[in-house]
């Protein structure tokens, strides 16, 4: 075991250039994957944030009174889809309208405080904010007969939802493309590294080394490449993240509300490290084995 590591260290020293090229390629591949993950994570956060704006407004039948309102509120608050419910009294509605639509404020004022109907403002749980889920929910409210009107910015729900879906699809497509490209690039590089070291493999084999003896240090070097590459990639990603934070300082609050850019969650960071080890060691093993298999 110690022998393998020592021979791997010697291999790295003897082929420092090759080692750093391979490490650099692993790092570049991981930076591409990581940047992509960073963007997806943040865009999803962003659009999910927008989706929080989805409220369902249910306007009570004029025939119902305060008690009915309270009863309906607690019934709806108990449903699984619902995150929060608040009651908007006619007075509050009038105040809101006066503020938001000054051009009709006079009209509202003339009509007196109870001209507008009372309503429930309902926020749904994240899982139930998709266009169809909201449709179904609104339908069920309408069907209860308590409400004169159920309103929920159908267009906006659809748009944010399908944008999120689009992002998801794009994410999968791009993720696959980037992952395939990364594997291809690392695989190629390792193949070329094996080619550059073909004499060494051939001579070791000729003096009686077993495949395992030859491949062992090769794979250890691959692990080292992967670990170092992953570290370098994380450093780059942190720098990118910081850079974007500085650049976007004034834009973010507008686009995200109070939110800010996230770095990769710990799970993804770990995945990046493991991925590095994997795309460092696996191609080394595969390429080395394939080359050895062709030697007598």
């Amino acid at each position: 075991m110690i022998g393998v590591v020592r021979r791997a260290a010697r291999g790295i020293r003897e082929h420092l250039y090759l080692f750093f090229v391979a490490t650099g390629v692993v790092a570049a591949a991981l930076v591409l994957l990581g940047t992509f993950a960073l963007v997806v994570v943040n865009l999803q956060g962003l659009v999910a944030g927008w989706q929080q704006d989805v409220h369902v407004s249910a306007y009570f039948q004029p025939s119902l009174g305060v008690e009915d309102w309270a009863e309906a509120k607690s019934a709806i608050a108990g449903r699984v889809e619902v995150d929060a419910v608040s009651l908007v009294s006619p007075e509050e509605a009038a105040a809101w309208m006066t503020e938001r639509m000054p051009e009709v404020s006079e009209v509202v004022g003339e009509l007196g405080p109870s001209a507008l109907p009372a309503s429930l403002e309902i926020t749904l749980r994240a899982e139930h904010r998709g266009a169809e889920a909201v449709d179904a929910f609104a339908e069920s409210l309408s069907a209860s007969g308590r409400f004169a009107e159920v309103d929920y910015g159908r267009e906006w729900v659809g748009r944010a939802g399908s944008f999120l879906e689009l992002l998801g699809m794009l994410g999968v497509a791009l993720g696959v493309i980037i992952a395939v490209a990364a594997l291809f690039l690392v695989g190629n590089t390792i193949n070329l590294v094996v080619l550059a070291r073909r004499d060494e493999l051939e001579i070791l084999r000729l003096v009686g080394a077993t495949d395992g003896y030859i491949l062992g240090p090769f794979v250890v070097e691959g692990v080292a490449q992967g670990l170092l590459g992953a570290l370098a990639a994380l450093g780059c990603l942190q720098a990118v993240h910081r850079g974007l934070l500085v650049q976007l300082d004034d834009i973010l609050p507008l686009a995200f509300g109070a939110e800010s850019l996230h770095f990769l969650p710990a799970g993804l960071v770990l995945a990046l490290g493991l991925g590095g080890v994997l795309i460092g060691a696996l191609p080394a093993w595969v390429a080395g084995r394939r080359f050895l298999a062709r030697l007598p």
């Binding site: 004499d199 070791l204 000729l206 003096v207 009686g208 003896y213 030697l295 007598p296």
Partner: protein, 230 residues
């Protein structure tokens, strides 16, 4: 040197590359502890014969036994075992140019899992034998032709193999050094190692007389069996 039966037996070995026959129906027996020359003109098949013995090539037809094991169809996973029991001086040396002389020689010990202490003891000893004392830490790539050849010899003998194959081990050294090399091989042979030397140096063969397998155009024209039996 008491011959105690054949260690290498070749029966009707043919080796063809496309439509060129490098070896044609070669049958040879080499006794344990024997020293044998393989000779013949350029391109006669000397190196090819050695390559078959260390498993770098498989024969096109015929049967080959080494130490009783049929190596004519050895799979590649059994080759390392065969090669650990052989020292080979390759015609083109096959050194790693960026490793030091010491590391190149140590390689043959490391692959058989020799203890570090043994490596530290044996490597300078054999380098001393081939006249390269003090060159241990030079990169093999910067050596002169003759120096490289001697490193190759040192690597082949460092782990005292039962069989030694040497492909023109004196091609790149001057006359005096060639005699020294032959004396080294002779000494190893006297310790019981079976030695096969491919060479075309007639003067040397006359000075160190052993059986000569003579190949011409891939055909064995002389020396098929040990002298005692021939």
């Amino acid at each position: 040197m008491i011959p105690i039966g054949p260690v290498i037996r070749l029966y009707h070995i043919v080796k063809s590359y496309g439509d060129r026959d490098a070896l044609r129906d070669v049958s040879v027996t080499v006794d344990k502890g024997e020293m044998v020359y393989i000779t013949g003109p350029s391109g006669a098949g000397k190196s090819t014969l050695l390559k078959l013995l260390y498993g770098a090539e498989l024969p096109s037809s015929g049967k080959m036994l080494i130490g009783g094991v049929d190596v004519s169809k050895l799979d590649r996973h059994s080759l390392p075992t065969l090669r650990r029991n052989m020292g080979v001086v390759f015609q083109d040396f096959k050194l790693l140019p960026r490793r030091t002389v010491g590391q190149n020689v140590a390689m043959a010990l490391e692959v058989i899992g020799a203890a570090e202490e043994q490596v530290r003891r044996r490597v300078p000893a054999v380098l001393n034998i081939v006249g390269l004392r003090g060159r241990e830490d030079d990169a093999a790539g910067v050596l002169s032709g003759g120096e490289k050849q001697r490193v190759a010899i040192a690597r082949a003998i460092v782990n005292d193999p039962p069989i030694l194959l040497a492909d023109e081990p004196t091609g790149n050294v001057d006359g005096a050094m060639a005699v020294e090399v032959m004396e080294i091989l002779q000494a190893i042979n006297l310790r019981g190692t079976t030695v096969l030397v491919a060479t075309h140096d007639v003067g040397l063969m006359d000075r160190f007389p052993y059986r000569r397998l003579r190949l011409v155009d891939g055909k064995l024209v002389a020396g098929a069996a040990p002298r005692a039996r021939a």
